[in-house]
Symmetry: C2
Subunit: 181 residues, 2 copies
Amino acid sequence: MPVTQSDTPILSAWETSMIDVFVRAAGLIGLPRSIGEIYGLLFCTPKALSFDELVERLQISKGSVSQGLKVLRQLGAVKLHYVPGSRRDHYQPELSMKRLVRGFIKDQFEPHLLSGSERLDNIDALIEEEGDEASRAHARNRLGTLRSWQQRTRKLMPIVMAVLGGAKFFDKEPTDEETII
Amino acid sequence: MPVTQSDTPILSAWETSMIDVFVRAAGLIGLPRSIGEIYGLLFCTPKALSFDELVERLQISKGSVSQGLKVLRQLGAVKLHYVPGSRRDHYQPELSMKRLVRGFIKDQFEPHLLSGSERLDNIDALIEEEGDEASRAHARNRLGTLRSWQQRTRKLMPIVMAVLGGAKFFDKEPTDEETII
DNA sequence: AACTTTGTTCAAAAAAACTTGAACAAAATG
DNA sequence: CATTTTGTTCAAGTTTTTTTGAACAAAGTT
């Protein structure tokens, strides 16, 4: 007897298409396909799904689902949902765009911004160690540009969050007059 | 006589560090290392650099430089700078954060948003073709969520650009002829 | 306690992304 | 018009990222 794939389509046409949207979105922000698939299927499904259901319906390995859910939890993009009478973890998607964006920024963006500040200070020191005064002047100037970019990025974040309907992020003191959009 | 690398350091310490910042930034937005290196070196250097100078100082292949510059031109992140008496193209970095961000959004982000709209319409059609009314209702509902996300993303863009355009976010004045707007 | 269920870990395999360099094209030069 | 200069293209090689699946751990069941 030949080994056959199940004939029952595991995902409907609209589900496949919608998951595809999330796979592309994931790619856009540098996350692997499997993570887009997992979030996408959760997004499509009315009820919370278990680990096993994700493995089966998406036809991807347990390893991928385990690691994918780990990242999604870290980002706050999925929530554990307790299902009475089941030992399995069940997951539901976070549906608030604001929280999704916040999770992404906090987890993937903010760390880079912060480490960036230290790096810039190091460069500042290195500049003074070489070249003639003219080139040092230019270097300092460019470093200043970089710092202003960083600063503006920081200021942008709370504004983005505000537009998405929410609270503040960088609990930094507002340096001067608040610009309200 | 053994084949030796040139002893003259091709990049100074501060240049290497600053280029590293751009390599990381490139990674953050999904661009390859070589592109970060090219933009980074242009950013460090007072004068416009030619193709060959990029190849030599960065020690990367002509292919990488050619493709990297192509992408950077597309993004509007580098500008051709005419140098009298030279047949070679010379490049300078775009230093306006606003223009850099706009280029990136227009080239990498907007297309996805637009194609996304078409996809969503297709999904809309697919939903009506299957399942019972209850599941169709849920599917329509989620599609609505997706549409609202898309809409909010669209609305965000002009606001981001406005914030980056305003001079009100400067802490200090630009220090020379390079006006950073 | 032995067994089952549930999920994680991690080394190896597979896939995707990036870089290289040689062949090529286009245009200027002699 | 042959040659040199300048830069592009693309197939092949390299590196990086992602996925897989088998071994393992933790906790519940019988």
